[in-house]
């Protein structure tokens, strides 16, 4: 009898707890999604309609906001640049981190401890805090190299830009900033590949680069995928660094372009919302398609210290 009463109480408490859990979860999920849906809905309103009511569904669906925003914001260029920066830098990060990771994990050297250690410390540094010195560094390097070329009568110093306002500069900075985490992940992963595999190939007379291509690279696909996912999502949205590296509109990435667009199109809300929607849709689709891989990659790559 007493047991039965206890069971009932337990069941009621359990049901209450479950209801509460669903309630909390539901409220948060609603709060997460509703602003995003609100944004998408408003991207189909005319400016006048938005001013009239900011919450209602559009009366006449203003599809024209999209082509309009696309044209004014030059989104074809922005997306093209973002693709170049994201894919180029991710590829660079993967190659350099696997190479270095292989060397750190499988070739014995006294240099490994200090160099690998410095990369691990680098994980703790957030490069945004260094944007001002980084800007000074790249602009001074451009000036130095420009002076050099002018002295050699190759070109005028003022015309020379390798780092500032140049895609190369953006790519180099992006690669450098992504390396610490990537190298840590790659090194720890490659350490788990048996030494015997590498040694056997060495005895057969294979060079290290041949071993890298033939053994390490194929076996490192999972960690390369993780690094790729972390960097694709991170770099596509990157703002702080490119903001100081690029001022030319033709070199801007999507986040920079969207901020510029919203600054100049203050008065046209419909197009503004359309621009925001264009800005978030590529990664949202990427997320819907690769959700499992992204979730796994984020969990594996979220390391600091």
């Amino acid at each position: 009898m007493r047991d039965a009463v206890r069971m009932t109480y337990g069941r009621i408490a359990g049901a209450l707890g479950k209801t509460l859990a669903y309630l909390v979860m539901g409220v948060f999920a609603f709060m997460t999604v509703s602003p995003i849906i609100w944004l998408l809905v408003n991207s189909f309103k005319s400016n006048a309609e938005y001013r009239l009511s900011k919450l209602a569904l559009p009366h006449d669906w203003a599809w024209v906001n999209y082509p309009g925003a696309w044209r004014i914001g030059e989104f074809d260029k922005l997306i093209g640049n973002s693709v170049i920066y994201t894919l180029g830098a991710s590829l660079g990060i993967i190659i350099f981190s696997l190479l270095a990771g292989f060397a750190f994990a499988k070739i014995r050297s006294r240099a490994t401890a200090p160099i690998y250690g410095s990369f691990v410390i680098g994980i703790l540094l957030s490069i945004q805090s260094l944007m001002v010195p980084l800007f000074i560094e790249v602009s001074q390097l451009d000036k130095l190299l420009g002076d050099l070329f002018q002295a050699l009568h190759l070109m005028k110093a003022a015309d020379f830009h390798l780092f500032y306002n140049n895609r190369v500069g953006v790519l180099l900075v992006y690669i450098g900033s992504g390396l610490p985490v990537a190298i840590y992940l790659a090194t720890e992963y490659i350490k788990s590949i048996p030494d015997a595999l590498v040694e056997a190939a060495r005895i057969d007379g294979a060079g290290y680069f041949a071993i890298f291509r033939g053994i390490i690279l194929p076996m490192s696909v999972p960690i390369a995928t993780t690094v790729a996912i972390l960097n694709i999502t991170g770099l596509w949205n990157e703002f702080a660094l490119i903001n100081i590296l690029v001022s030319k509109t033709s070199l801007q990435s999507l986040p920079l372009g969207i901020l510029r667009f919203s600054g100049t199109m203050m008065a046209d809300y419909g197009k503004q919302f359309a621009a925001l929607a264009i800005g978030m849709l590529p990664l949202l689709i990427f997320y819907l398609v690769f959700r499992r891989q992204i979730t796994k990659g984020v969990a594996a790559g979220a390391i600091k210290g």
Binding site: I107, L130, M131, G176, A240
Partner: protein, 373 residues
């Protein structure tokens, strides 16, 4: 013997060929900027050419003295501390609780909740910042909803008055009732509300009932203007809210992935022995995740201490610089108006030092209280 020497040389060459490209890039992007910020924060260099151009020299620690004396620095630091606090004590616990609910299948469809809650973290913070600005702005969504609500409330009061008077029968009592129903702040435009309002009201003919009603609602209902993003003491609240909104899902994913590594048998055994969910959480899940939690805290501290883009897109540090955090304070000193490179570099260095101090403290807490895995 000669063979091993060749072998060793070959090995060395391969090692450096593989390590150097990465190491040089790393030095270029992370190590040199730190060196530059140390040197420049002690100098008076303010643009131009560093080499073979302008004269500049080391001037000592005066930039740091300037920093400490600048009230704006302390405001930015305070705002930054708010962001760090809401991140560490908001995102982490919430993420943990959500992860636990999903992990223990207290809520079903865990995959769905996880997918939804992580969504903001995948979208550009620039897009999200602009979006939230449109929600919190003085003419934004929240103000719109509130003012529509006030207008309809006043409209209902007006309808009641009109019904009682049997239409637009303008008497002194009628005007008095309208004045009583009106918002005191809205009435402040009048010196003598009763007489002035009466003058206005008598101009309407009974046929203009709808016009009268909408004019009165516009004129006399309460107008709510949000000072979220304009008042110094509350301007950080929306930013803190959005910070929480944006990244809680990240920690949910992180904690959930690590909870799934816990041996299920231990939890099953504890449940059979009569342990409640609270005990399972406190005695099994929490201790086995202590290392992950410390890592998450470090990630969180370093990320929130450097938060820039979200706030930049949402408020730009404004209005009147009240929402500046350290990185924006640094940015404006370097790039807005005349450059103050030495000061900006001193700020950069202090951010780096702050993060290392906070991370060190976290590690210390871990050593002291954690590590019972």
């Amino acid at each position: 013997m000669a063979r091993t020497a060749v072998y060793r040389r070959d090995e060395k060459r391969a090692y450096w060929a593989m390590v150097l490209p990465a190491f040089i890039l790393y030095l270029f992007v992370m190590a040199f900027p730190i060196v530059i910020s140390i040197i420049l924060s002690l100098s008076n260099f303010n643009g131009g050419k560093m080499f073979g151009g302008e004269h500049w020299r080391i001037t000592g620690f005066q930039q740091y003295a300037k920093l400490v004396a600048d009230p704006q620095f302390w405001l930015a630091l305070k705002n930054n501390v708010y962001i760090v606090l809401v991140s560490v004590f908001g995102q982490l616990p919430l993420g943990f609780v959500f992860a636990y609910l999903i992990y223990r299948r207290i809520v079903r469809f865990g995959d769905f909740w996880q997918g939804v809650l992580y969504m903001p973290a995948i979208i550009s913070v620039i897009v999200l910042g602009i979006m939230w600005n449109m929600i919190f702005a003085p003419s934004g969504l929240i103000a719109d909803i509130m003012n529509k609500w006030y207008a309809s409330a006043f409209g209902h009061k007006l309808d009641a008055i009109l019904r009682a008077a049997g239409g637009l029968n303008i008497t002194d009592a009628f005007v008095h009732r309208v004045v009583d129903a009106s918002d005191p702040v809205a009435l402040q435009i009048f010196h003598d509300p009763f007489t002035e309002l009466k003058d206005i009201i008598v101009a309407y003919t009974p046929g203009q009932l709808d016009v009268f009603r909408s004019d009165m609602v516009n004129l006399l209902s309460h107008k709510w203007s949000p000072d979220f993003l304009s008042k110094a003491d509350v301007a950080m609240i929306p930013i803190m809210f959005v910070t929480l909104w944006c990244w809680t899902g990240l920690y949910l994913i992180l904690f959930l992935a690590n909870m799934q590594k816990i041996d299920v048998a231990i939890i099953e055994a504890a449940r059979i022995d009569g342990a409640g969910e609270g005990q399972v959480m406190g005695h099994i899940v929490l201790p086995s995740l202590s290392g992950v939690i410390v890592n998450a805290a470090i990630l969180c501290i370093s990320g929130s201490l450097n938060s820039f883009a979200l706030i930049w897109a949402m408020t730009g540090g404004g209005p009147a610089r009240v929402t500046e955090v350290l990185s924006i304070y640094m940015y404006t000193n370097a790039f807005h108006g005349a450059p103050h490179y030495p000061l900006a570099n001193a700020i950069a260095l202090s951010i780096v030092v702050f993060s290392f101090i906070l991370i060190g403290l976290t590690k210390l807490v871990e050593k002291r209280y954690g590590g019972r895995e």
